[in-house]
Amino acid sequence: MSARYDAIVVGAGHNGLTAAAYLARAGLSVLVVEQRDVIGGATVTEEFHPGFRVDAFAHRMGPFDRRVLEDLRLATHGLDIVRPDPARVALADGRPLPLFRDPSRTAEAIRAVSPNDAARWPGFCRTIADATRLVDAVRRSQPPELPNPGLRDLLRLAALGLGLRRLGRRAMVQALRVLPMSLADLLDDWFESDVLKGAIAGTGLMGLMQGPRGAGTAYALLHHLATGEAPGGVALVRGGTGRVAEALAGAARAAGVEIRTSAPVERIVVRSDAAVEVVLAGGEVIPARRILSSADPRRTFLQLVGPEALDPAFVRQVRHIRMRGACAKVHLALGELPRFAGLGGGDADLRGAIVVAPSLDYLERAFDDAKYGGVSERPFLEAVIPTLTDPSLAPPGRHVMSVLVQYAPYQLKAGGWDGARREALGDTVVSLLAQFAPNLPGAVLHRQVLSALDVEQRLGLTEGNIFQGELALDQLFFMRPVPGWARYRTPVRGLYLCGAGTHPGGGVTALPGYHAARAVLRDATPS
């Protein structure tokens, strides 16, 4: 057995790799252990049909932290972020509505649907920008200890308050007001066009077991726009999100991190209230001074650590973290590009996200199905055609379409996610898209459906929840993953959480990993 590692990171998803890289750069000896035979976690690009590769899970970037991009020089390690324009195209009966990066171009496009909404679009973008600035400031720091913030926290909170106030009284109130709202209330306040409201709402609802009428869904929208992209904005990765993990792994290895795949952790061993070692399946024991888990909190505490080693009240809180997976993925290998009615000139319009979310009621009804444990017959879809950004993902002239499907809940009332259920969902998705692109069914060469159960089984994400815990108002900030334990440390000394189950939550942002590494380093430095 080799000398003890300074840190072992469980899971080579993008957050785990980020944490590992930062720790290694600070001089720690770091080992990352990954259960799958490939790194990446939910940011992984895989061949799903001979010659066709697709982002198996996350198919676009979140608001990725700029510091991580720069500190780890991810561009030099192969990360190429693409911001398509139009960013998003909303399919509807009649003309599809494109949303551009430039608010004035978007306003022009909206004018065709509703001149009133076009006039209001810039004001909406401003209010959202003000609110996201607040959210961004909050997410870039670790959460304060409430209700007894330390001096540093207080200063930061005061700075936040002042920053808000500097927006002006009106803007400040408007921004604050948005935070607890429902998307339906927010969007109905501003707009009349169903397709516009549906398109914006979809972005916020991704991954949630909530409909647009749920309070707190507006916050989720802000979460996804935190780097200041205009509403509707999308950031893709050339070559697939797997490149994010590869770039992070490159930076990590350059800093001296060791990465082992096919090394599933069976247990995190706790002795005298301290985490001392991991045990891999097969029995190999690897000791470390500290352990960071990028697995979700339920899995970390209830499976890897085990409830016997923890306080019952803490265990109870962990059991109550709402995970409910709401999404599935449908991957299509296509013989030709889908031809969407109303999207004429070339494929420029198809490089971003293509959504089916024709109205708020449509989304709410889709949620209603899932609410009672059913699969939505008319789900919300967000599709990406990555071959338009990187043709090497498929054979020449062929294409790949990655479709995120919501609401296809993990928890089904009757039966489970068997082959028949999966195929039925695949059929639903293809026929729904076919309403807008009649050539699609004929173009499908191969189809793969991954349900929330598949996500759980392949990635170990409890209930297939891609955010490791819903982005609900009571599961955010100083309450995430559980109240009192929101600063990456856990009741077990030397054990840290570094995945999306911590602040600021899910999406491809690298922030949980970044904050966790800093927490570890802070603890490691004698004051």
């Binding site: 409430l146 209700p147 007894n148 106030r165 009284r169 009106r170 400040m172 109130v173 604050l176 007001r177 948005v178 935070l179 607890p180 709202m181 429902s182 209330d185 306040d189 909530q210 009428r213 749920g214 309070a215 707190g216 109550h320 709402r322 009621d361 709410e364 009804r365 209603d368 609410k371 009672y372 609900a472 108002l473 009571d474 309450m479 109240p483 009192g484």
Partner: protein, 528 residues
């Protein structure tokens, strides 16, 4: 015509307007209350709609009447007598039922029948709720700080809030945050497994809202019930002898004893202003009455968009008030009965009829009722909160006969096609049909039926869109944001023109708190 000069005019003789007037008079002001209808009370009225039978037309229980108001205005001496509601009875389609009693041991035994685990959890839950209710009470009586202001008094208010939050301690603070942000159903699912228990308790979280039990933001209403239990000598959760109209009448008496003049049948057309200052009101009859202070106890839409010319107000405020959500979601069915209902699951007359009866067999039932409303229909299988006032106060009906008050959700104000007479009756029929499934003798016992839709409540009681709380209690319309920042401190942009209705903090329910806080604001501004 009374030529006396008034110091203050209160528009609207609902319970908050009356409280406001009473407090102003107590401080020495000469106050006039103007009420459009022929009786005071607003939505807290008892009316003999059918001869011999007194209906609690709209509201039917008293839940949060502030003890300081009861004390300051000496309401018991003015006729207020609150009788306890001793139980909540939930009949189930299976033929079983669930009852919760004011007596904790009885409840425990009943719950044990359904789930031993829940019986234990109920005690622990009640204990936590009491703690949190204690913690929250000060906020109900607090004037919300202006979040945008650097004025010393406002900053002091923020500091006070901060100190208060600190004083809660981590556990209670976190529990409170969960309660404020979670859905009632999800919150209760962490505690209990009995579906009917979860549902009946969740139901209190949806009353008066356009939300379902699974909607975030419905859990905190669970506190209301426990808040009532801890309010000292006076039981604040119960049924007023004489119906909720008796509460209004008691407050009116208290006001009159302090010199307030109350004029009914005196609808106000608008507030008179000059140079940005209020100077009185003009009635629909054309009569002008002068006063330097004018208080609106009406909802924010009427306060800002009807009583004054919106063009005289800042555009931002008008925009906010137009966006202020006030969607009515409930209806009321009041019945005169020749006999008591007999529930199949617990036949005959018994103590379970003397409390509240809840048609809420499961969370899914409530959620589906909500789903109907979301898309513009009234619930095909509605939620109901029922009391039989005559069993608690025999004076409400002739001997041997009864009145039944049925609060129903959901009945959306925006009904597909609108609320016609036919649709009103269909709604009433749905309610009777549903209830008859549990108590088959009901239909035959009905002597008279009154059905109120949100459109009726708007027309009769001046409740915009029939919303019983003068505005939805969503998180973004509470506290410093109610009805709109920075006008959440009972003032308006017009000097001398104030707000004191449920559209201000702490809004909703028969609490009197907005009325009192509004009065305190006015008195402070007057230097008294």
């Amino acid at each position: 015509m009374n030529r006396t000069a008034f110091d203050a005019i209160v528009i609207g003789g609902g319970h908050n307007g009356l409280v406001n007037a009473a407090y102003l008079a107590r401080a020495g002001l000469k106050v006039l209350v103007l009420e459009r209808r022929r009786l005071v009370g607003g939505a807290a009225v008892t009316e003999e709609v059918f001869p011999g039978f007194k209906y609690c037309v709209c509201s039917y229980v008293v839940s949060l009447l502030r003890p300081e108001i009861i004390r300051d205005l000496d309401l018991p001496a003015c006729g207020l007598e609150i009788l306890p509601l001793e139980s909540t009875f939930t009949p189930l389609p299976s033929g079983d039922y669930l009852v919760r009693w004011a007596d904790h041991d009885l409840t425990r035994r009943e719950l044990y029948r359904h789930s031993p685990r829940d019986a234990d959890a109920y005690d622990e839950f009640g204990h936590l709720m009491h703690q949190l209710a204690f913690a929250v009470k000060p906020v109900l009586g607090m004037m919300p700080p202006d979040l945008t202001s650097f004025a010393p008094s406002d900053l002091a208010g923020l500091l006070r809030l901060g100190r208060y939050v600190r004083g809660l301690g981590a556990d209670r603070f976190h529990a409170l945050v969960k309660l404020m942000t979670m859905s009632a159903a999800e919150y209760l699912e962490e505690w209990f497994e009995t579906e009917a228990l979860r549902a009946t308790m969740s139901a209190s979280g949806i009353i008066g809202t356009f939300l379902g039990p699974r909607s975030p933001g419905t859990a905190y209403v669970l506190l209301h019930h426990y808040m009532g239990e801890i309010d000292g000598v006076f039981r604040a959760w119960g049924f007023a002898r004489g119906g909720t109209g008796a509460v209004s009448n008691a407050i009116a008496t208290a006001a009159e004893r302090r010199g307030v003049t109350i004029r009914t049948g005196a609808p106000v057309a608008r507030v008179l202003t000059r140079g940005g200052r209020a100077r009185g009101v003009v009635l629909e009859s054309g009569e002008e009455i002068a006063a330097k202070v004018v208080v609106s106890a009406l909802d924010p839409k009427r306060t800002f968009l009807e009583l004054v010319d919106p063009a005289s107000l800042p555009g931002e405020l008008i925009e906010d008030i137009r966006r202020f959500r006030i969607r009515g979601s409930s209806g009321k069915v009041n019945l005169a009965l020749s006999e008591l209902p007999s529930f199949t699951c617990l036949p005959g007359i018994g103590p379970h009829l003397r409390g509240a009866m809840s048609i809420s067999p499961s969370v899914e039932y409530l959620e589906r009722a909500y789903d109907d409303a979301k898309y513009g229909a009234f619930s095909r299988r509605p939620y109901m909160d029922i009391v039989i006032p005559s069993l608690i106060d025999p004076g409400m009906a002739p001997p041997g006969k009864h009145v039944m008050s049925i609060f129903v959700q959901y009945a959306p104000y925006q009904l597909n096609g609108g609320w016609t007479d036919a649709r009103r009756e269909a709604f009433g029929d749905t309610v009777i049909d549903t209830l008859s499934q549990y108590a088959p003798n009901l239909r035959g016992a009905i002597l008279h039926r009154q059905v109120l839709t949100p459109a009726d409540m708007e027309r009769e009681m001046g409740l915009t869109e029939g919303n019983i709380f003068h505005g939805e209690l969503s998180l973004h319309q509470l506290f410093s944001l109610r009805p709109a920042a920075p006008w959440a401190q009972y003032r308006t942009p017009i000097a001398g023109y104030y707000q004191c209705g449920s559209g201000t903090h702490p809004g909703g329910g028969i609490s009197g708190a907005p009325g009192r806080l509004g009065a305190l604001r006015i008195l402070k501004d007057l230097g008294r």
